[in-house]
Symmetry: C3
Subunit: 270 residues, 3 copies
């Protein structure tokens, strides 16, 4: 099946019909904003990290999102347990390795979660995914904007092969691969870099799509839908505070017609 | 005393004159937004969870709010200690049992806090309050919208009787009971369901009112004031990001005249 | 060198050119909003509190901000370790003693961090800084508005002398001193008191300026720039929700021309 504007529009329609419950163990900075992104797009968020309640919570969830943006040993332990439960219960698991490469704790935690074999989609920027493949030294914090188009495409493919999952390397152009196919998504706006946690939001939204579609389709759909919403928000508002508000508005407003008109999704050769 | 638009308007006036300090132990997702709701309405928020400082903080607070939305054993221990201190110092205590029924950790924690005998107002949705009364199996996450008008009314009454407090069961119509009287509040908008933590915000605002009025009046006033602010916000903004922003604007702008014009508060028969 | 509108404009230009990475260990309430303030002004935020990663993170950071707004023993331990590392690595360290005076845990933690000798800038309100100098009993929560103009000026000077750093006592007029010189900054709007964490935001922004200028200049520049942005935001929006959004817009939009026109910075006699 080819992924294109039409399949993205259908995925969104399905998401809104099913209203998936997305369980997140995420970082303190973005808990509120990722929950609002999920509600705006039409999913239902729940956050819980106590090990005692993970099994019950994941049992009722339709997808699990783990984001390592603010770690400590208790949260790492919860994340590892949640990854295990997601695997046992067959729930799609999306991982955001925030800051991998910046510290060995982050790189190591992300790698351990990947080694569980339960991650369905890995979503990170160029520096983070490179670090997980051992290809770079250190990224500069969590806002790495190092970017080369071809390198990103190859990186998505290698990460998908290496970890046996769908890898999304996001940047000016996003590349998504399942290890065989590669898709490029060119929606979005640089203004996303002026609001904290927009990468974490797209990861959360990927979780919502992963609850209703297979991982490659889910990752491409999430990036296209989020990117289009961001473009529309930026049309309405040229500064970051107002842009941020409009981003939720457009996650709520985006529909099939807008997707068919604006989606820049294409299959690319490896 | 009958509670009506006029008493609600007076309660708000008193709240703004006294500017109560509301101490919260709440969940990570809504710490910022509940603090902003309190500031907008005219109260003063403080958050502290370290057991070492709870006594000093609650001593200077005018009300305490406990919200179990993101638990772990350290936070549960703080909440239990805070409930005990609120009781000893005679401070009004408002409890939001977020996600009760979704996991046994949440149901059990909420019940233990209720058993302290120190909770003045319990504010939850139908699924959460049902779970605390052992009447339902499991709710679907924290966004349960299961709703029946008569059942909700009876539930508020039973919860009030069972736990010896004021119970507010919120939904399309909110029902508030002290075990004898029941009030219905019909302000609000479904758009509140598209912004995370609006239930937690109304709980926080209930804490502010509980600092200046007796619990039944406080709960009804908070629900009416918050619901009216939400209706006005929705008049101004039809999408969730913009609606969220306007909600704070209207919590700040709402006054006696607007309350007298818009409050839909009525006493109902059990 | 005299600090005035021109030096403030130059400091902002330098900040935007260098895009400093500001590492924060801050409170749960303001993690999102302080990160957004840093991004809007042109800096790059990173949050990390795990002791295992502090050294690596601070090594790549250009400044460190510690804010004690929500403490517990694990976070206190991280903060102490971070202060030590900042000292060893020669990174500017900005401290916000949120709620000092409200509880002995907060006063004690702030004092211990000050005693490390590594704090470059201390930014607090009148009640907080007084408490650290042992001059007041207890403040009323974190929103202390107790204010006397002369007392604030003397307090900034004494705190700077006592702790050997730059002290900024913020209020209707902000006073900043390095123990010899004192500057008054009169930008801002009372509406800042209706949004949670605006004090924490200005502390974070002080961290960004401290990465590119010496501490006295950094503190004055941050207060002037933030205050001007707030004034412009209040011109655009008269209610707190909308004001909050516009505050980020104006942190992004503010430029040298606006600073030269609006900055109210003056040197005052001790």
């Amino acid at each position: 099946m080819k992924i294109d504007a039409l399949t993205v529009a259908k995925a969104l329609e399905k998401l809104r019909r099913r209203r998936p419950l997305v369980h997140s163990i995420t970082n303190f900075v973005v808990m509120n904003t990722t929950a609002n992104a999920l509600l705006a797009i039409g999913a239902s968020p729940v956050m819980a990290h106590a090990e005692e309640e993970l099994e019950e919570m994941i049992e009722i969830a339709d997808a699990v999102v783990i984001n390592i943006g603010t770690l400590d040993r208790h949260w790492i332990s919860s994340m590892e347990k949640a990854a295990g439960i997601a695997g046992e219960l067959g729930k799609p698991l999306v991982l955001d390795p925030v800051g991998a490469g910046a510290t060995s704790l982050r790189t190591g935690t992300a790698l351990k979660l990947l080694e569980s074999g339960n991650v369905s989609v890995l979503r990170g920027n160029f520096g983070e995914i490179s670090a997980l493949l051992g290809e770079h030294g250190r990224t500069r914090g969590v806002d790495s904007m190092v970017y080369e188009r071809d390198a990103a495409k190859r990186l998505a493919l290698r990460a998908a092969e290496e970890f046996g999952l769908v890898a999304a390397v996001t940047g000016a152009t996003d590349y998504v691969s399942d290890g065989k196919r590669i898709y490029a998504v060119e929606n979005g706006t640089p203004m996303l870099g002026r609001v904290t946690g927009t990468g974490c939001m797209v990861t959360a939204v990927t979780g919502a799509f992963a609850a209703v579609e297979e991982p490659l389709n889910a990752a491409v759909s999430a990036l296209a839908v989020f990117g289009i919403a961001a473009e529309k928000a930026h049309e309405d508002a040229e500064y970051p505070g107002s842009f941020h508000v409009r981003l939720y508005d457009w996650l709520y407003r985006i529909d099939g017609e807008l997707i068919r008109k604006m989606a820049r999704v294409r299959k690319v050769e490896p």
